[in-house]
């Protein structure tokens, strides 16, 4: 990923006093461009209602001229107390809450929650369910990265990629709607299985998407990657070294753009990810531009994983054959006494987990999403902790933005890929 020779090529045409064309180099200037003229620092309030804050994030910015001196983020405008609510709900009832945390990748959140409860209970899911969950996770990754790409491009003034990205997102959303019946609040998984198997025509639809999606990615790549304005606005902005990224507990593309090749799918595999053939893109400069490159490449890799998952999708049940966790079929519940008792106990009492605790971290589009459950043996968790990747990644914004221009703050904020539903929970 060494495209950094680009800075030399980047230039914009202009005309000198004689009318002859001159080429003025763009790019990042070194050192302090402005002398210290002294004067009052300005306090600017950005958000909570501001299109470039991607939700209800409020940034109080202290400016010296146009240079950011301090950034003080204010969170909590979307705080919904999900973790508290989870303590009053059965495990399967928590799944709708996960839809609403990172609402740009609800299916991946559902999968993570099911995995955490299954680990707590020691359940092994069926082969078909494993592959279907991989498909759900990678579809979510494509949706989330497309939204990120589109909104970030808009923040930096590029409107066209936004339309292309959202068109692709729409195609995935149609497939997701076909499967789950919902575009946003999917509630796809259940403890021990899935809410539904994929419908007829889904595989063909997804194969068509896989075949045609790289074309759009290629177009986005062509319009942005070697674009003078894009490179000038993103290169050298918000740089974090590998050590800093680790020290700030960053995860996901933020961590990998800084050159740390850590991906939960490779390094602590779940859902048999180790058997898929895919690459983990790693940046080397840790700036906004590298984060863009990493996410763009991840879209290609997700596409590859989707193709492999469809190829290996086995037949068979999607749910484990355990009436303590999975509802019996309706026909049996209506005719068989034992099945009806299991049905009643599950609906009224919920799935009971053994005493203990379990943490499951999965590679979500935003980073490492962790669900940590502590159980006292009842059907409701004592503690449900969400390790929110967007919240932790956002924690580094002050470090990244200080010393940059106010307009760069927008680029940096966009590059973190926050979703406030998850930051505030």
């Amino acid at each position: 990923m060494s495209k950094r020779t680009l800075e030399l090529d980047v230039a914009t045409p202009g005309v000198d006093a004689h009318g002859d064309p001159v080429r003025v180099p763009l790019g990042v200037s070194e050192g302090t461009p402005e002398p210290d003229i002294g004067g009052e620092h300005l306090l600017i309030n950005l958000g909570p209602q501001h299109p470039a804050t991607h939700g209800v994030l409020r940034l109080v910015v202290e400016l010296d001229g146009e240079t950011v001196v301090r950034v003080i983020p204010h969170l909590g405008y979307l705080h919904s107390g999900f973790e508290k609510l989870g303590e009053y709900r059965h495990y399967n009832q928590i799944i709708p809450l996960t839809d609403r945390t990172d609402y740009l990748s609800p299916m991946a959140n559902n999968v993570a929650l099911a995995l955490a409860v299954e680990k707590l209970m020691g359940i092994t899911i069926t082969p078909r369910c494993t592959v279907l969950r991989v498909i759900a996770c990678e579809m979510s990754r494509i949706i989330s990265h497309m939204v990120w790409l589109g909104t970030t491009a808009i923040d930096l003034g590029a409107f066209t990629p936004f339309l292309w990205a959202f068109q692709e997102r729409e195609r995935i959303y149609n497939l997701q709607e076909m499967w789950t019946g919902a575009r946003l609040t999917t509630s796809l998984t259940r403890v021990g299985g899935m809410m539904a198997d994929i419908p007829d025509g889904f595989v063909e639809g997804l194969r068509h998407f896989i075949a045609t999606y790289p074309k759009t990615l290629g177009e986005i790549d062509r319009i942005l990657t070697r674009n003078a304005i894009w490179a000038g606005r993103t290169q050298g902005i918000g740089v974090l070294t590998a050590d800093e990224a680790i020290n700030y507990s960053l995860s996901g593309p933020m961590l990998r753009a800084s050159g740390v090749p850590w991906d939960m799918r490779k390094d602590q595999p779940y859902l048999d990810y180790e058997t898929y053939d895919f690459e983990v893109p790693v940046g080397e400069h840790g700036d906004v531009y590298d984060r863009y490159l990493v996410r763009l490449e991840e879209c290609y890799q997700s596409n590859r994983i989707l193709a492999q998952a469809l190829d290996r999708l086995p037949d068979g049940p999607i749910n484990v054959a355990d009436p303590r966790v999975i509802l019996p079929p309706k026909s049996r519940a209506m005719s068989d006494m034992e099945a009806m008792i299991f049905h009643f106990k599950q609906v009224m009492e919920g799935v009971k987990t053994p005493v203990g605790e379990a943490y499951v971290g999965v590679e979500n589009p935003k980073g490492e999403l962790g669900y940590y459950f502590v159980s006292d043996g009842t059907a409701k968790p004592v503690r449900w902790r969400i390790r929110p990747p967007a919240f932790i990644n956002l924690g580094a914004i002050s470090k990244m933005a200080e010393g940059h221009l106010l307009s760069d703050l927008i680029a940096i904020n966009a590059s973190i890929d926050i979703v406030m539903g998850e930051v505030d929970r």
Partner: protein, 206 residues
């Protein structure tokens, strides 16, 4: 069991309490609260351990009132792809205080603020221990404590009353007020805290 636990016991002796393996296969080790920062620094900086990545900080309070409140630190040795969970037990009736680990990990800043916000655990040495998800003047307590009702401590009428009577300036944190001209509009108790120099700087005009 993670071999690190043996190393911890050999190095810190009786500061290391019980250890075990959780249902997710991770080793859990309980550490005495006053040695927490030393233990975590040892885990982070000892070459053979190298738990350089802080995954998460959170707290757990059990429904059983007899059980202590647990602080949970999940660490990761990226080179060995191993996680370790370190716990500290605090008496929920007593003073909830422990050393901050922000000197070790910058990422602990917000995580500790969240634990403070939700559980009321005070992290000594934290550079900026303020509420993070709730607002600074939030007076109902610590939402994730078990004695906190799901709908909040105050009645709905009282919550609405307080929301309508909020001083908008109170939404600025004390630190910002050192540069904003909003000092005089503050509630009396915040002015008092500023005057005591608890956090931030008192404006020159005072």
């Amino acid at each position: 069991m993670n071999p690190t636990v043996e190393g911890l016991k050999a190095t810190f002796g009786d500061a290391i309490g019980r250890a075990g393996v959780a249902r997710d296969g991770l080793s859990v080790v309980v550490v005495r609260a006053d040695r927490l920062r030393d233990v975590l620094r040892w885990l982070k900086d000892t070459p053979g351990q190298a738990y350089t990545y802080l995954v998460d900080i959170t707290a757990v309070e059990y429904r059983d009132r007899e059980r202590p409140l647990e602080l949970v630190y999940q660490l990761r040795a990226m080179g060995r792809k191993t996680d370790l969970r370190v716990k500290v037990e605090l008496d929920p009736q007593g003073e909830l205080a422990v050393d901050s680990v922000t000197p070790l990990w910058a990422g602990a800043n917000w995580l500790e603020r969240e634990v403070y916000d939700m559980f009321g655990v005070v992290f000594a040495g934290h550079p900026d221990l303020r509420r993070i998800l709730m607002w600074e003047t939030y007076a109902e307590g610590y939402p994730l404590r078990k004695d906190f009702p799901l709908r909040g401590r105050f009645s709905r009428a009282e919550q609405v009353h307080q929301a309508l009577n909020t001083n908008p300036e109170a939404n600025y944190s004390l630190e910002e007020l050192s540069i904003a001209e909003a000092y005089d509009g503050l509630p009396a108790d915040m002015r008092e805290r500023l005057r005591r120099g608890e956090r931030g700087r008192v404006p020159e005009s005072e």
